[in-house]
């Protein structure tokens, strides 16, 4: 048996938790705090503004002994990326409702290569291990733009999450 992986997004004040799936165009950066990739064109980000924060977690289910050493990075950047900056944070334990003002949580430039060591917490610790079905700590993302950002759809950026399983 093996662990089953899904990205989980939390949105709203309560929050509502939605399993997004394992891969594909699972979410978009938008001017609304929800958990669907579908309505990005009706909730565009005005050049110079920020997207709503996106609150993600790794959701592990199935049968496994341990899952740990979670590493997260942006494996493919937007192209072109002019006027687009992605900020992130991977050790947030408690959810707060997403904002579109400049995030005070996602404040660090996202890594663009495998960080090599855990950069996403589990249970509030980078050394934490899941020993049963559960979640990582929150990965908080925000797309921040400048007026130099081109109008229209951006390309797809790709994010990779890697973990050790035993």
């Amino acid at each position: 048996m093996a662990a089953t992986y899904q990205w989980a997004q939390s949105h709203g004040a309560t929050p509502t938790v939605v399993d997004l799936g394992e891969s594909g165009n699972l979410f978009n950066f938008k001017d609304v705090d929800d958990a669907t990739a579908a309505n990005y064109s009706s909730n565009p980000i005005v050049a110079g503004d920020n997207s709503y924060e996106v609150w993600l977690r790794a959701h592990l289910t199935g049968t496994f002994n341990t899952v740990d050493n979670i590493q997260f990075w942006m494996s493919t950047d937007f192209s072109p990326a002019t006027g687009l900056v992605l900020k992130w944070e991977g050790e947030t334990v408690t959810h707060v409702e997403a904002v579109k003002t400049e995030s005070t949580v996602a404040t660090t430039a996202i890594p663009t290569t495998d960080p090599g060591t855990a950069n996403v917490g589990i249970g509030g610790s980078l050394g934490g291990s899941l020993t049963g079905a559960g979640y990582s700590d929150y990965i908080v993302l925000q797309l921040q733009t400048t007026v130099a950002a081109a109008a229209g759809d951006t390309s797809l950026a790709t994010f990779t999450l890697q973990y050790d399983e035993s």
């Binding site: 740990d68 249970g123 610790s125 050394g127 934490g128 291990s129 899941l130 559960g134």
Partner: protein, 123 residues
């Protein structure tokens, strides 16, 4: 720089970017449950690795609900993370009231400034 000598007389130093950790650990004995005040907050020593067994690990259950999480790290894993020699040991600290851990590795050094004896707490 806080250079120290362990009980066997090896020259070692505390490798940490946090001066508070270095200063707090610069004493004759470091034991489990020792309290350390650092810029990042108050920490407690939860394990002391003497480096004799590189497979030695520290394990602690962090939470049972809403899902089970365990912290488990060996001196080998921790030393690799810091690029230090696991055979020289190190001190594992936990921030009080949180699940944040901080490893303070010991590293080789030629100069000796202070002495330290690394021992496990006797319970």
């Amino acid at each position: 720089m806080a250079d120290i000598t362990d009980k066997e007389g090896k020259n070692i130093k505390i490798s940490s970017k946090d001066a508070n950790f270095k200063e707090a650990l610069r004493k004759p004995t470091v034991m489990v449950d020792d309290k350390i005040k650092a810029e990042k907050g108050d920490f407690s020593v939860v394990h002391v690795f003497d480096g004799k067994n590189v497979g030695e690990f520290y394990e602690s259950k962090l939470q049972e609900t809403p899902y089970p999480v365990t912290y488990r790290r060996s001196i080998k894993q921790l030393s690799e993370q810091y690029g230090t020699d696991p055979k020289l040991g190190g001190v594992l600290l936990r921030k009080d009231g949180s699940n944040v851990f901080n490893f303070v590795p010991l590293d080789s050094s030629k100069d000796k400034v202070a002495k330290i004896t690394v021992v496990e707490a006797k319970k």
